[in-house]
Each structure stands twice: as structure tokens, then as C-alpha cells.
Amino acid sequence: MRQIQGRLTMDKEPAFDIATSARTRGSRPEGAVLLRASGLSKAFGSQLVLDGVDLELRQGEVVILRGFNGSGKSTLLNILSANLEPDAGVLELGVNGARKIFRFPSRWWQKLGLNNRFTPELIFNKGFGRTWQDIRLFSSLSLRDNIAAAIPEQVGENPWFAVGRFSAVQRQESTVASSSQEELELLGLGEEGALLAEKLSVGHAKCVAIARAVRAGAKVICLDEPLAGVDTLHKKKIVELLRVLAQREHITLVIIEHSWNISQIMDLATTLWTLEGGKLRVEQPSMAGLPPVNADNESDIQQLGRTATLTSRRVVGKEVATPFLEVEDLVVYRGRRLIVGDYQEDGGEIKGVSFTLRQPGLYHLHAPNAWGASTLIEAIAGIIPVARGKIRLNGKDIERFSPWHRVSAGVRIALARANGFQSLTVREMFDLAQVRSLPEGFDLLLEKQMSSLSGGERQKVVLWSILHGPAFMVGIFDEPYMSLDVREAERISAELGRLASEKAILITVPASTCSTGEGFYEVP
């Protein structure tokens, strides 16, 4: 069984091989063609998302697939992994010499799905695996079982053999368990083998998801935003893992990523696919048109616990800022697990989190994954109870207020993963949020259901609902840029910057554990 070579540890700098990188970058490998698609089209209702896309994927390529929100990146990936059927086109797969051709539209008898024609499992068995934007580990299984479940050709998966060939199954199970454990050790998660996947932080979970696809035997892996929502430390780890897969394991990769993360994987890339107006453009990888990496220019730094920092930007012309939201010694648990607050090394009382947001002001909370930024925000919103501490809004204690009471007191919160009401249309969302003026660019989306929008479009609607709804005093945004494209992120960022001249705005961003020094790729 193959294994990911090379140990990836948390503290080691990625071993960047300039020679290999120079060789691969900018020159498409001339390996065998693994996938060829011609004329792929897909429409949702009246909106044509893919309009005759032609593409070719060769062995050893590392493709970066980019495009604006709603340009059809995820749709294309869903088609390549057979989660979605195109309306028209031809798809030709050819891994391991065996060719398989799918023509669309399918005939009615093929649509019955009785003969396993165009299904994810069939595509995977042709060597095409994928990972998901929302990770999708098996949440109630341990990490070890997550990987074990993916390992192919297990005798005991057939119930007759599970009972009839008990000892053979047991023998294979011990091999499977030890190789799953080995895999976790390579990811630096050796001691977390029995941990349930639902308790894992985003960064680690994305690593496990990639390793799971590799262990299942994928020769080509399509990755949907592997770096989104991941802090700098884990980003490095994932990039290093991708490098190992591409350069040592010779796995072909197709990576969807947003522009500000692309800079970190650009040196791996051999090909750039850009989706625009339903067409796919194939280019040489280059950094042109990508946002520069900004250095932080915050003026005031507050330390939150050991690893997170709150930085604020000075608002020109408004020197006197009044404390507006004060959080004092806050401790929050989920179940029995301490999330917000730090255990003291000497075993003393737990140290809560304290900080102050002044108005006006723009604040960035840089917290590593699993630090508990989302939990902190939910506690401020009143969604989960606090164990200890004070939350004061404009001098008034609000920790006993209900969530809607807090909203009417002037607090607005955009959670990272609660993207609106799925069964409402965009227009209904705006009506519900009392948005007075419809922002431009939403005309085509207004009558669509939230559930039919792409992740970035949903995020857009939620953010605009808050920004253009009734007036507020404190706005807290949990990873607002996570699934937005550069254009949209710039728009939101400008809007937030403008608001910050009157209100207190707090934005959380996944950050590195080495606090303010590096790693915050801010949209200009």
C-alpha cells in the first residue's frame, strides 16, 4: 500500500525544492492524458454556468482552477467527480490505460442509475478522487476509522465474509488499523487516532481528508479550496502535503483556490485554468493579477490568551474613540471542553479572555484554527452560554440578554458557517433583513433560492444583508472573506472600512500562531 512519503511536522519549515519547482513550473508535463472533456455545458435554470468547456488533464499536472464567485468552479469539479451530470458534452477518462467514455445528455435508461454508469464510485475507481470545501469527514467516526473506511479491497466489507471468514477479516483489520495509524502519524496526528472527526480543527481535518483520498487509491485528486479557512501554520502543512503528493507521489492535482491563497501554491502549479463567462481558459501559471501580500499596519495590539491577537487600525481624524464593546474575563465551554479561556500552567484558575472594541474602529482578530474564535463570537451573540465573565455594550451588561435583544441593542454578527436560510429566495433574505437599497450585481440572483447559490454567493448575500440592513453599532464578522473572490472581497472590505469610520467593526481571520509577524494575507 502506498504511503505519503516524508514526515510533515508542525515546526519544520517546508522543504522547498527550488530545482524541482523551476522544472515543473511553467512547463506542462507531457504525461499520458488522464482526462479529456469537450463541449461540457451545464445550466441551472436559465443561468448557463458552463458553456462548452474543453479541457485536457495530463499525468503529473498540478492545475489551479480559478474564477470569480459563481463562475462555475465547483460545478466543474462536481462534474469531474460525477456528483453532477453535465447537460451536454463528452467526458473521456483514461487512467491505467483503460479508457471510458461518457456522452451527455444521458439516455433515459442510463438516468435510472441501475447499471452504475456515471456515479462517484465508478469515477473514483477510475482513479479520480476529490476533497470537499466543507471537508466532509465521517463526523462520528474516529480519525483512524475515517482513514480505515477509505482503504480499498477489504474482505470484511462484504457481510457474508465478515461472518464467514472471521479470522481472515480480523487479520486484515489489524493491518488496516496499523496502516491508518501510520498515516495519521505522518500527518503529525498520531496521538489523535481515537479522536472523533467532528472534534478536529479545520486545518487538521483538511489534511485528514486529503490523506483519506490518497489512501483510497486516487491517482487524480480534485481539491475544493484546500486552504480556505485555514490558519497560516496549517496552510504551510497542507501546501507541503500537496507538494509531496505532486512531486514524490506523482499524483495529479486539480486545485480550486481563491486568489489570495493561490500565491502560496503557485510554485507547485503547472497549469492555470481560469473560468470566466462559462468558458475555460488554459494558461501558464503566473502571479499576474493576484493580490500582493500585505504587511500589517495595525496600530494597537491586544493579546487574547496565548496565541491570538486583536489588532486595530487607527481611524484617521477620529482620535477620541470610546469603549463600546467590552469583554472581560470571558470563559466559554462546549459541553465539558474549554473553548474560550486558558488553563494556567500552575493549575490555578482558568484565565478568561478580555478585550475592548472602541467606536469607531476596525479590528482584526488573528486566531489560529481551533482557538475558539467562532465560539467567542457565538458567545457574544448570545447563542451559547458563557461560564464566566462580563460582556458590556456601551457600558451596559448584556450577557443575560437574549440574542435578539442584543441585536436590537445594536450588535450584528455574521457567523462563518451559517450562510442564510436555505429555502428562502435572495429577495426574501433581503426583505427579512430589511435591506433598503439593493446592491448592484444581485439582479440575476434575486429570485433564486439560497440553497441553489454557490458558497461565495451565499456569503455575499449574508454580508450585504447585514451591511445594508438597519443601522447598528458593533459589527462582528467571522471570516467574511473565506469563500469570496477578490473582486467581491475588495467590495466588502471597502464597505467595512467605510463603516469603521463610525462603528466598531471586528473581523476574524485565520492567523498564524506567531501572532502579528506574518501570514495575514489581507485583501487590499
Partner: protein, 293 residues
């Protein structure tokens, strides 16, 4: 002593049913209301085989299990496409059809066992052969069958097959995206689950010597589902806890010397209160890890 044996036999029947529901709901993540239907298939198959054909206990029980496992295809093929509310509605329809067949497959004065009368309608089938003559022996038989079912559950569910079922329950699309087909896994798991329900049904028919259409009623499906949920899903011990609780609750009332009519209502009331308390304080059940949504 007789009373204890009686309780033991009922415990075995309930535990087998809870195991059956544990497979379908706890491991496959499909909430079903058709369990009483498959229980009835087992009970009627056993009754007909023993009364009309004079079959012995073991072949009669096997017949029930095989018919029920084949009939489970209706549910498993539906589960290829449906889950959640739609599947619950589908299972409700299956239960209603089976109940309808039990009540109505008897035309006029036709003799039992002819194509015109297979179930004897609302009157049910009586004088079903009991394989053993004393209650003690029957309790031993029931315990042995329950033990066998438990061992089979352990072998199946603690194996890679069980892991595939749990992964499928958590995220079917992600599992398929790893190259694992799930259709046959569903077919096998549902056949096993419905086979267990039929085993419980056959035991019930053999013990009482009488079966009527009320065994296919929706009330039983709901009651057994409550039992399995309270016991805890997605593990191997929950079914026993649930069965014990379901059995002991009415017995406590009996010892409180309550009139039967009042005790019956009290029993339902207590189940209701218990279920509400469980959803608040221990939604994953007494022994469970998995929360049924």
C-alpha cells in the same frame, strides 16, 4: 417463576426487535416505521407454515426470515434514493400496505390456506404450534435465539461492513467519492434488519400460539422505535438497555397495584414523559453515541 420466564421471553423478543431497528436506524441512518410490518411477516409466515404445512419450528422460522428479507428490498431500493422525511413516509406506506394485506386477504368464507384466504382477516390465525411444551424451555429457546442474533450483530457491525454503514450514515456522498458502492451495503443491511424483525415475529407467534393483524399496527412500530432510541443507537448495547426499560416500566406499574385500564394509559404517559426527558438530557440514548435527527 412463570412470571419471570414470561418476562424473559418478552425481553428476548423486544431485544431482537431493538437490534433490528439499531441496524436500520442507528447504523444506516434511515428512520423506519415499517418494523411492525416485517414483524407481522415473520409472525404470519411462521403461523401459516406451522398450521397449514405442519412445518417444524426451525424451517418455519427460516421461511419467515427469508420472506421478510426479500420483502426488505422494497425499503432498500427506496433507500438508494430517499432518506430523511421522504424515507419515513415511504416506510409508513409499506407498513400500511402490510397491515392492509393482513386485514384484508380473506374473502368471505373461503378456507384458510387458499389463495382467497391467506391471513384469515381480522380473526387472525390460532392454534399455532409451540415447539417446546414448557415455558421454561421456551425461555431457553428465546434466549438462545437472542444470543445468536446478538453474536451475528456483533460480527457484522464491528467489522469493516459496520464501518461502511456508519460512514454511509455520516456522509453517503463522501463515501461514494472514495470509491465505495453503497447500494449493496444497504440491501444487505436492510435484509438483515428485516430478517431480525421477522425472527422476533416468529418467536412471538410461536409463544402466544395466536396471531392477528394488530401485530402490524403502527403503534408497535412507534413503540419499538422509542425503545431503540431510548436505549441508544449506533452501538451494540443500546438495544438491550432499551428492551429492558420498555419491559420493566409497565411491570413497575403493575406492582403499584393500579387497575389495568389506568395502568395502560399510565404506561403510555410514562413512555411519553420518558421520551421528552431523554430528548432534553440524553438525546443519544442511554448507551448511545449517535443522535437521531
Amino acid at each position: 417463576m412463570n412470571y419471570l420466564l414470561h418476562l424473559t421471553i418478552y425481553f428476548c423478543i423486544y431485544a431482537i426487535l431493538a437490534m433490528s431497528l439499531n441496524v436500520m436506524v442507528g447504523y444506516c441512518g434511515r428512520l423506519t416505521l415499517a418494523s411492525s410490518g416485517y414483524f407481522a411477516i415473520g409472525a404470519y409466515s411462521y403461523a401459516l407454515a406451522s398450521v397449514l404445512l405442519g412445518w417444524h419450528f426451525v424451517p418455519a422460522i427460516l421461511l419467515g426470515i427469508i420472506i421478510s428479507a426479500l420483502a426488505s428490498l422494497v425499503l432498500s431500493v427506496a433507500a438508494w434514493r430517499f432518506k430523511g422525511d421522504v424515507f419515513v413516509m415511504f416506510s409508513l406506506a409499506v407498513q400500511a400496505i402490510i397491515l392492509g394485506v393482513c386485514v384484508n386477504w380473506a374473502v368471505g368464507s373461503a378456507e384458510l390456506g387458499t389463495w382467497a384466504n391467506l391471513t384469515n382477516g381480522p380473526l387472525g390465525i390460532s392454534s399455532i404450534a409451540n415447539p417446546v411444551h414448557t415455558r421454561g424451555n421456551f425461555a431457553i429457546l428465546a434466549l438462545a435465539l437472542m444470543g445468536g442474533a446478538a453474536v451475528l450483530c456483533r460480527l457484522l457491525l464491528a467489522s469493516p461492513f459496520g464501518r461502511i454503514l456508519l460512514a454511509m450514515r455520516d456522509d453517503e456522498l463522501a463515501l461514494r467519492g472514495l470509491g465505495k458502492g453503497v447500494k449493496m451495503a444497504k440491501v444487505y443491511a436492510f435484509a438483515f434488519s428485516c430478517g431480525l424483525a421477522a425472527l422476533a415475529g416468529s418467536l412471538y407467534a410461536a409463544y402466544l400460539g395466536y396471531v392477528n393483524p394488530s401485530v402490524a399496527a403502527l403503534d408497535f412500530s412507534v413503540l419499538w422505535l422509542c425503545m431503540a432510541i431510548i436505549g441508544g443507537m449506533g452501538n451494540l448495547y443500546g438495544p438491550f438497555a432499551g428492551a429492558a426499560l420498555l419491559l420493566l416500566l409497565p411491570e413497575v406499574l403493575r406492582f403499584a397495584q393500579m387497575p389495568t385500564a389506568v395502568a395502560d394509559d399510565m404506561r403510555l404517559l410514562l413512555y411519553g414523559v420518558f421520551l421528552i426527558l431523554m430528548t432534553f438530557f440524553r438525546p443519544q440514548g442511554i448507551c448511545g453515541r449517535y443522535r437521531v435527527d
